[in-house]
Every structure is written in structure tokens, then in C-alpha cells.
């Protein structure tokens, strides 16, 4: 349980400034860049636009909780393999958005739909080609891994 003494605190500022979970980044603080993307109850949101007090009891997944120890999440590994980042500042948001997109299962293996579904996450370095490849590959890897798991 977490005591909050100020109703103005956004989820992003709670994570970054009070819990010191600084993986989620602040690029604009008004939902325009996606660098602060996290999953709330499995859905991707811009954490800068959510007041922390409105999320009492919610399940929040940030970039810090994605890998299992040393074992990277398939999306994280694919971002490295396809060089889906340069400066790395937007990367936590891109990865959380990609995990959310794959969960939504709306894009399939269509690069055009992946690009559209990832367009809420700006990358000023222009690593988009690698990001799209990484999302497609990770999705494929997760599907085939899922098939091996008994239902």
C-alpha cells in the first residue's frame, strides 16, 4: 500500500519521483510522445495522463517488471537484435507499447498495422524500421512459444 499526500501526482511522476522507478520516461507530459507508456490492467496507457489516485488497486506493469531476472522478454531481445533504438530514451515506452499491441492481437503479422499501432510512440532518432521488425519478430516468437505450452 502506498500513501499519497497529493492528488495532483500523475502515475508517471509517482513512478519516477516517488518510487524511483525511472525506466518510464517523460518526453512531453501531455500524452503526445508515448515515452511514458505502461500497462494498466494489461492495457497500454500514457502514464503522464493518469492521476495516480484514480488507479487505486490497479495492476501496473512498467519496463522494470518485464524481464525475468537475466532473461529478457522476447520484445526486449528483439529490440536489441533489430537495433530498434538509438538514444534509448523512448525505448521503455516503445517496448511497453509493443507488448500491449501484441496482447491486443489487432496487428497480426501485417507491418502496416504494426506501424499504425506503434505510431503513438515517437522516436526522434528514427529507429522505426528496426522497431517494426522487432515487434513482428517478437510476436512470432511469442506465438510459437505459446504453442508449445499445453493449453
Amino acid at each position: 500500500d502506498l500513501e499519497l499526500d497529493d492528488p495532483r501526482v500523475t502515475l508517471l511522476d509517482l513512478l519516477r519521483e516517488r518510487l524511483h522507478l525511472t525506466g518510464s520516461k517523460k518526453g512531453c507530459d501531455r500524452g503526445q510522445c508515448g515515452a511514458c507508456t505502461v500497462l494498466v490492467d494489461g492495457r497500454r496507457i500514457n502514464s503522464c495522463l493518469a492521476l495516480a489516485v484514480s488507479l487505486d488497486g490497479a495492476d501496473i506493469l512498467t519496463i522494470e517488471g518485464v524481464a525475468h531476472g537475466e532473461q529478457l522478454h522476447p520484445v526486449q531481445a528483439a529490440f536489441i537484435a533489430h537495433d530498434g533504438f538509438q538514444c534509448g530514451f523512448c525505448t521503455p515506452g516503445q517496448i511497453m507499447s509493443a507488448i500491449g499491441l501484441i496482447k491486443e492481437a489487432q496487428a497480426g503479422n501485417d507491418p502496416e498495422r504494426v506501424r499504425e499501432g506503434m505510431s503513438g510512440n515517437l522516436c526522434r532518432c528514427g529507429a522505426y524500421a528496426g522497431i517494426t521488425e522487432a515487434v513482428l519478430e517478437a510476436e512470432k516468437a511469442m506465438l510459437s512459444a505459446g504453442e508449445r505450452v499445453p493449453a
Partner: protein, 753 residues
Amino acid sequence: MPDLVLSTSPAHQRHGSSIGQPLTRRDGVLKVTGEARYAADNHPPKLLHAVLAVSTIARGRVTFLDVEAAKRHPGVVEVMTSANRPALAEDPDAKTNPFMFRLDLLQNDEVRYAMQPIAVVIAETLEAATEGVALLAPRYDVQPARVGLDGGESFFPQAVGVGNPGAVHHGDVEAGLKAASKRVEAVYETPTQYHNAMEPHAIVVSWNGDKLSIDTPSQGLGMAVGRVAGLFGLNPANIHIRSPFLGGGFGSKGFIAGPQLLGILAAKLVDRPVKLVLRREHMYGPVGHRAPTRQTLRLGTDNDGGLTALAHHAKTVSSTFDDFFEPAADASHTLYAAPNISTSHEAVRVDTGTPLFMRAPGEATGSIALESAIDEMAIACGMDPLAFRLKNYAEVEPTSGKPFSSKALRACYAQGAERFGWSTRPLQPRQMRDEAGFLVGWGMGTATFPALMFQAEARAVIKRDGFGVMESGAHDMGQGAWTAFAQIAADGLGLDIDAVEFKAGTSDLPDAGIAGGSAHTATVGAAIHNAGAAVIAKLADLATNDEQSPLFGAGNAGVVARDGRLFRRDDEARSESYADILGRAGLAQVEARGNGAMDPAAAEDYAMHAHGAVFAEVKVDPELGQVRVTRMVGAFAAGRIVNPKLVQSQLYGGMIWGASFTLHEAAVMDHRSGRTMNANLAEYQVPVNADVMGLEAIMVDERDPHVNALGIKGVGEIGITGSAGAVANAVWHATGIRVRRFPIRIEDLMLPV
């Protein structure tokens, strides 16, 4: 250049296989797990939060700030204004060299541009500081703002960019134009652009007596230390800046900016550690931008399509209080072999923050105009744009007459055109449609960027356990310095990359100069290479002078360093490991330093540039005028490629910036108020993922024996040049409409159906 001689002398040859490998980023795991620590991620104990209050007017004076209201707000600790700002040892308006930019550090109540800092609120929480800023409710004495390219009286700057002459005349362009059988004269406009790195400028700062501990993103740590030392009257040795990762820079973090220095002042005022992070809108004022231009191109050709004259005149703006002039016309110095070339600049002063270097300063801005004009001239001659460029290919640098140190541009044209399928392009516009009925157009542009070098130093160590350390205070703003320099270090030390620890990103390491001008890999790479040569030379001396070494007496034959061993050059059966050499000598380690800088003799004799050719396809909705770039092929020759995976990413990023220049980004100014109307990331449009498809980058083989010992030219900026013009020319080819004001807007392309 004794260091360069060292590195090529037979006694000190080193072999390695790290350079040229497409390694993934060595900081990759940190970046994908959120563990990479950027400046604003730091939280020293007892930290306070500072937030800037910025001016909502562009010119005038601050007459009132409700400091009491802000201070009454719970959690607010202090409000820093011009009334109580701690004293500085140096006037922020002093300028003793061209790299020293005047700063707004609350030195008075004057406002000289919108978004200028006018106060800083410091509080226990970010929320309280933010609310405190709102409570200041500033009032102003407002004066009319001077805005835009016609906002003031023109003058002709003596110097543009960094000390380039404001005008260059080669031959007689008027005579050349008069003699021409065909002429093109056209005026192109480019907008104000903002770097908009994803990471806003940020600083976390702690004072400890007269010592300063700072986390802040920097493309030039040594210069930042010097600036802070000067302003605060400190010994540079007492200033420690950490900048292991920059969330993008693009030129805006080349110099420490006013807001970062205000963070240091705020910490001093309250005597507690302070974090100051710019809000996105604060990035549209005090941290630099690319100035707008209006460029006039005049070209003439003879009957065979040979250029007889090329005149490039650029008008730009600077601030009322400092000098930076976008060197747009300089793009015409090197590319095309006109016998008569003139470039010139004029400027006006307006109420804006001072413009600054932004990725490919001058080249990007000038290239889009030049490449559009070349396209228009080719069309006037009835020639294919590639054939026209080949007809006017510069075998030597036209304005200087110098030979190129290397120039594989013909190969770039050939390989790019082949890959793109350029040969089937119809000459006339509006000839191609896709299956959906969209107009399809193909355009091209030539890319060029100078191969620059600055100054850098590196320190190399070989330890008794056989491992190596390489240190240089280099900067990774995303280009991949952590990886590329480790590769160069490994080869420089004759070690496997996993046996080398590479240290960078802090100000206590040897000065790596500035990460800019596409020169960082070449400059720091040369320093690393030379430091490696020097330390291997020491090791070789130890071995060849030691009777117990299998290498004894091999001084004249020379040794080769490889895999952590020295081998006798003429007998590889005789070798000894670094560890054994040091062990017997009773030394814990050997170390040496090396420098990287341009060889002035080579620079005197040769013109040094990277080159490229970019081919673009656009599709235009004939009814809506909407443009999409569907394919881009860039072929670039930039000397030795240290890591093709990272270079591909750099080139893609540049090409995307080029497309963005042509189709997306522009700051829109309110001419009544002098304020930017779209100072945010939704309305200042940058490409999103859905805008980017079909990119290909070809790295054309090019060996340059003159630029530096490693033959590196740099790739950070060249991708923009050429690309912007290629997209603009493709839009013409699709539609038959020549748009000369960038970015191209939908309303420019509303076609008669």
C-alpha cells in the same frame, strides 16, 4: 603527427577484427530494461524540484511576478528571480569566443524572446513547484515583436556557421549566367525547426562547498565544464559532470544551455540538491533551433547541360543579442562542377532565442534548395536528373580546386539507381499511378557532408591480467559510441572486445571534444587508435629489450599485436602474451595517451567530404493531396564503416529527418505575438512509425588514406542531405507541381481532378 607515424610503423602493427563487425549495442540491455540512467533519473538525498517560469511575450520587460503567492503555496521553498539570483563570476552576456553563446540567467528583467526563463520555482515536490510557477502570474511591459525573415533590416554577416566566410565567389557568375543558353532562377523557403530530442534538457546538481556534482546530458563535456567554471568562478577540477546517456541531442546539447545553468544557480540559492527538467514547451526558446531561410538559386547551362554558373544566396535570421547564422548557401561549394560559383548570406535580427547547430546545420537547409534547383535545371534541359548530375560531376572541389581525399559518389549513384530501379523512370511528371490510383513519383538528390575532425584525447591501459582499459570522455547520444569506440579500442589494443573495458561519458576522463559535425567517431576513434599504438609500443619495448622474452631483439623486425599477444613480425612462431611480458617486468600495468585531430597537411591538400545519392518514391492522393514516402534508397560513401548495423540506423535516422524536412516539421510563428503556436510534439509534426517504410541504405565501399589513420568520415548528418531534396523532387514528379516552400503541405498539392 608523431602519433600517426607510430601507428603505422612496423614495430607497432596491431591486428584485430572488431572494426567492421555489425555488433549489437553494448548498452542494449541497459536501454531495453529501463536501467540506462539518464540525467533526470537521478535522485540524490534531500533533492528539491525546480521548474522554470518562462516568458509569454517575445519582447519587453517583466514588471511583476507574484513571488509571495508562489511562496505561500505549500511545499514551495524559494522563488529565484533577477532580484535574488546568486551572483556569477562572469557576465552571461559576455562573449569572448564564437563558441560562447550569450545566456539568459535572470541577469535583468528584460525579455528578448518567447519562452525565455524569467524565474525558477523550487519546491519539495514537482507538483508544488509546477503550481508555484502558475501562481507567479507575470505581468509585462510589452513591445511589438519583430518576427520572421522580413522582421528587420538586412545585413551581411562576415561569418556564418562556425567561422565560414559569409560569401564566397569563384569565377564570375553573372558572366556565366549571361553566357548560358538555359537558366533557372527560383526561391525556396525553409521553416524554423526545433531539435526536439525525446529527452528534454535536464540537470540534477549538488553543491558541496566549492565542488559541483552534476548529471546533465552533454555533447561536449569538456566545454561544459569550462563554461560552468567560468560562470561560477570555480576550478574546473572541482566540477564533475556525468552524461553516460543522452536521450538524443542533434546539436541542442552541444553547449550547456541557460536552463541547465539556472538549475545550478537554484541549487546554490537553496543550498540543497536540485533537479530541473525542462517541460517540452521550454524546448522552443532557450536551447537553440534551426533558423528559417529564404534561398535564391540561379543556375545556367550550356547547350549540352553543362553548368555555366551556380549562384546560391541565403537569407536567414538570428537573435537580437547573439550571432549564429545558418550557413545554408555553403551547400553549393562542393557538389557540382560549375566554372562560376557564388554563395552569399544575409540576415535579419528578430525576437527569438539564438539559433544553433541542428543536425546538418547549413547542409540540410541548403541541400533541399540546391537539389530542388538542380532538378529544375535538369528538367529545363530535358535531361534525366541523374544524367544531369553525372554531366556536372565535380572531379575536384569546384570552389577550392583541391582534389578529394576520396569520392565514391559515382558508385553511390550507380548502386543506388540500380537498387531503386531508376532507369525505368519516365522523364515527364504525372506518368505513374499505383493500383489504387495514387500518383507515383520518383526523385533523387545528392548527399554530402564535410569529413570534419575536432580534438580528442584517450588513455589506454594494458593490465597484468592481460585485459585492457580504454578511456575517453566520449558522448553517446544514440549514435552508438559505447559500441563503436569499444570496437576501435579492441583493435587498437590487439585484444578481443570482451577483454577491453571502455569508459566514457564523464568529465573526469580525457577530454573527447564535442560530439557533433559527424566528427566524433573519427576524432575519438583516432585518439583511441593512437593511444592503443602508444601503449603497445611500450609493451613492445619491454619485450624486445628483455633477454628472457622470445621477442628479444625483435625491435628492428617489429612485432604484431593480436589476441593479447605480441608476435614477431617475421616469425609468428615467436610470441609472448601481454600478461607474461608485464609479469616478468614486475609491472601492474602500462598506460599511454593518444590524441585525435585532423592532420593539417592533409586538410591543406585535400577536400574531405562524405557523399551519397538518395532515391525516393512518393505516392500522392490525387484528390486529397496527401503524400506518403513509400520507398527510399540511399547509397552512401563515408570512408571506413566501424559498425554497419549502427551506421545503417544512423543513415535511416538521417533519411527520416530528410523526409521530415520536406513533408512534416515546421514551427509556426504567430507574427502578432512572436510566439511559437505549435510548441508541442503533437502540432510540431515529426515522423511517426506509420510514416516510415521501405528504407534501404547501401554502404558503398570507400577507402580514404588521407582523412585519418582509420579512414573514418562520419555518418551522423549526411543522411538528411540529399534525402530532403529527393522527396521534394519525387513530389514534383508525381504531381507536376513544384513546391518551393517547405514543408510541402496538402494545400500545395490540391489538384484539379
